[in-house]
Symmetry: C2
């Protein structure tokens, strides 16, 4: 292993794609590239007021090409020629209707401007009513609860809820489609040149965490269950494979078209895809007892645990627990908050309203980018409890514990003396309280959490958020030294698929990079936050039970 052997990790985030060329023998990053989705940045096909978020397939392919070109130009042509494997990670559940060749319907001329024919982004919440119907049906189903391994509550963010909405409201799309495919499964199929929708490899994680796939009932939920929701779902199910695959699986070799487009050899191994959070957990060196917190626009909290002998332990209220979704051979537990960095960005956009609306500030729009650093500095001067504010972090619904996308956020305790930094701090505290609610749910079910390692943009950019999280959670939080942990996790998996390392554990040992910074809880602030956390729970259960929602 003294000779250099390289892999490529490609990480599709919510707003952009990152590519890294990594030396699989030591984890050194030789080149990186990033590219923001162009149509998405323009707000096309989206309507934030209705929580409709769609992404065009061309955004993915164009930006991937650009990001890989950037990574290769940094790593050099010679390094590119040594790349042996590619793994893609992506947001999930972000499915799209495809035709018989596996082509997204939006790429057909007749659906070029049709948002339902594009990828329905994870945070799209247009399927709240459908998720409720799925939950109602699942709860009373004689053949067992198909949401059991997804925490007992099916989310509007997920595969079947999105499929059902389109089946119900857009028959033109639903009837033209041959299948529905996750973004994270579509990318490797595209790179490997798969031209038959039946041959698209379905990842274990996406299927198990988001689409009610489980071996105990033969894969996806049975046709009669799906038919009770909508006949079209039962038809779509018929064409779905019953088997799913962990990310160490080879999907194929890079097809000539994409080899030429990316400037790589055709012998490069393409592995199955992996969900972005799971990839980040691998890149951040997840291991039993170490919770990986991926802190981005939303959060994902990942843990792995041993498969129990005989009967499986079910953790209620958690998004999912799926054999091999993070690391083959281990149960992957996934929890998370539907909005995290998005909450802070939301408040920035509220404060930036005058910059956008007032003609006299038209030439100062770029000041918006200075708001977060400035308000974090001001908010850091406020003591816990000083503002009298309590906020709820459910601005994009609640994912865990106990998914309910119809819940909304709140700020309570406002006075004429409340200022913007106080409100910002209250939102940061609310996000930390949401994290604590997840950790406490897991502990209540006996899943131990010994330490936390944080990865993702927020963990590196906001010391305020990190310190408040440590104070609220009452645990040390280490920040991973990997600045692109998702892409690094993908590169690790590529090294396994390409045969450079025998398994994920070996890949992590060779390529992992530890923590670079540790936030320690302050005992005094932690005590105050214990009380504020009780107020948060009280407010939350009040709002939840009284349904102050219109």
């Amino acid at each position: 292993m003294s000779e250099s052997r390289y892999t490529l990790g490609i990480d599709f985030g919510t707003d952009s794609v990152r590519a890294v060329v990594v030396d699989a023998t030591n984890g050194k990053q030789l080149g990186g590239g990033v590219s923001a989705y162009r149509r998405w940045a323009e707000g096309r096909f989206c309507d934030a007021r209705k929580n409709r978020f769609r992404q065009h397939p061309d955004d993915y392919t164009e930006s991937m090409t650009e990001a890989v070109a950037g990574a290769i130009s940094q790593a050099g042509r010679e390094a590119a020629s040594k790349i042996e494997g590619i793994t893609v990670d992506a947001t999930c559940s972000t499915p799209c209707f495809v035709d018989e060749t596996g082509t997204p319907l939006a790429c057909l001329p007749e659906f070029a401007e049709e948002p339902d024919a594009m990828f329905i982004l994870w945070k799209d919440h247009t399927s709240v009513a459908q998720a409720e119907r799925i939950n109602a049906l699942a709860r009373g189903w004689k053949g067992g609860d198909f949401t059991a391994y997804e925490g007992g509550v099916y989310s509007s963010e997920w595969f079947w809820a999105k499929a059902l909405r389109v089946a119900e409201t857009n028959p033109r799309v639903a009837s033209r489609a041959a299948s529905l495919v996750e973004h994270v499964d579509w990318m490797p199929a595209l790179l490997a040149g798969v031209k038959d929708f039946r041959k698209i490899v379905r990842g274990r994680g996406p299927a198990g965490h988001k689409a009610m796939w489980h071996p105990s009932w033969g894969g996806y939920p049975p046709a009669d269950f799906l038919a009770a929701l909508h006949p079209r779902l039962a038809e779509l199910r018929k064409e779905l494979p019953s088997e799913t695959f962990t990310t160490n699986t080879r999907v194929g070799l890079l097809c000539p078209e994409w080899a030429s487009r990316l400037g790589l050899k055709e012998s490069v191994v393409v592995s199955a895809g992996i969900m972005d959070a799971q990839s980040g957990a691998v890149g951040g060196c997840v291991s039993p007892g170490t919770m990986l917190k991926i802190m981005g626009t939303s959060t994902c909290d990942l843990l792995i645990g041993p498969k129990s002998e005989g009967q499986e332990r079910l953790v209620k209220g958690i998004c999912g627990q799926v054999d091999g979704s993070v690391v083959p051979g281990w149960i992957g537990y996934e929890a998370g908050q539907s909005a995290y960095g998005d909450i802070f960005a939301w408040f920035r956009s509220i404060l930036a309203w005058p910059l956008k609306a007032l003609p006299e500030l038209a030439d100062r729009k770029e000041a918006e980018s200075r708001i977060i650093p400035a308000i974090e500095a001001a908010a850091a001067m406020i003591e816990p409890g000083e503002s009298g504010l309590i906020a709820l972090d459910w601005l994009n619904g609640r994912r865990t514990p106990f998914a309910d996308q119809s819940l909304k956020g709140a700020i309570v305790g406002l006075t004429l003396g409340t200022d913007a930094p106080m409100m910002y701090r209250a939102l940061v505290e609310a996000a930390a309280f949401g994290s604590r609610a997840i950790a406490e749910r897991l502990r209540e079910e006996g899943v131990p959490i010994d330490r936390i390692v944080a990865v993702g943009g927020v963990s590196r950019k906001s010391p305020l958020v990190m310190q408040i999280s440590a104070d609220v959670l009452g645990m040390e939080i280490g920040v991973s030294a990997a600045d692109q942990s998702c892409a690094l996790g993908a590169a690790m998996y590529a090294s396994v698929a390409a045969g450079i390392h025998p398994d994920v554990d070996s890949a992590q040992s060779a390529m992992g990079c530890g923590t670079e910074m540790v936030y320690k809880p302050d005992p005094k602030r932690r005590k105050i936050y214990d009380e504020l956390y009780r107020q948060y729970l009280k407010l939350g259960s009040m709002i939840e039970s009284e349904r102050i929602i219109i």
Copy 2:
């Protein structure tokens, strides 16, 4: 009455003082002047985060001099020489500790920088704990409930709560003081050259609405009640007169010092003072069945009703009902919201935070003044119920119904799609819901409200607020044509005190100016608001009963 006879009305508001010279024969305004309090504008002696709001007596005298000079320079020297009477109105309860000569302690060198020796502005909420103690004592008092005519709940904004806090926490001020005098009583005494604190005329309104004065128990609450709160209060009470006076009472003639300072004759009659809202009600031509809404930084809702024969009817949860506080011979009912225009100004200040905090916007601070018009235009495009937001208007506590200054505001229903105009509209709706809660409380007690006339800054500046109020209240709201109704009401009273008119009714007939605009409720929006109002009540009672307050 064909010959011109003039009077001067002087209106002390929260931020500035206005003076008007009016022709008492026809109500025509001949000249007006306004002056903002200089120290107040600089934020001196205040701490908004602690709800501490103090005003220095020199702010009042300097600004009054400037405002009267402005009015006279517009009306002309000759008109000034024809002025026969002066009435002052002012915020209330805004008391100040004075020495034996009636001089505010802050004017003595040893108290020059002492906020407790200044006027404690109506909206100062530093006496919340003291108000609670007064309420607890009053509730169990064997000799009857002295808060009965003030709605059964004594507010931290009022006379004795403020006196008690200073007695408890600042003995240096409390022991040096000879008495405590309301701003609205101090001004006429100053103008009339009263140099003995015992001779300061106490207005019926301030005493009855804010200081538990009632003839049935011999004026102010008995000494043993006050002594149970603090011995110093009983001593202060000993020096308070037992009689109070309606505003048609002559306090004296303008003293030489102030005649020269204001450029007026010494023969000008100075009447007793009147609370600003009551004056606005008179200027807006209050009459039985017509509720006057004074819409400024806060609101006051004023009504007059006949004295019932035999036993008095008590309206629970309303600030007060006092014989003659608005018009002699009638019971004056006062209700109101502790924050109103202040809520909208608060949200503007939240949005303006980047303008103040970011160096790159330092030269654009004046853009803040454009925020309200721009956001009102945007908020007007949003339909009722569309945003899914419900807010509580208690950002400065709740005055009526059922005073509780410890309550706070809230915004519930936030999503990532919530924008600043939605939040602004939710705050406007909350303010209107607060108005409706007051109107419903009065109706429940059988006090009829046939129509509403609005006066004050908000009623003239914000069509959005007015239309939403009409939709939420389900009543037509006329906007008084008097653009300075408080100052006009004072000028009306001055005409009565000076003997130009025999009574307030005659003064209103001669000098009143009707409504200039009527907002009509839209039946469709009204129905939606009926439902949203129920949500507002539900959220409010939840927050109130669960005490989500820290």
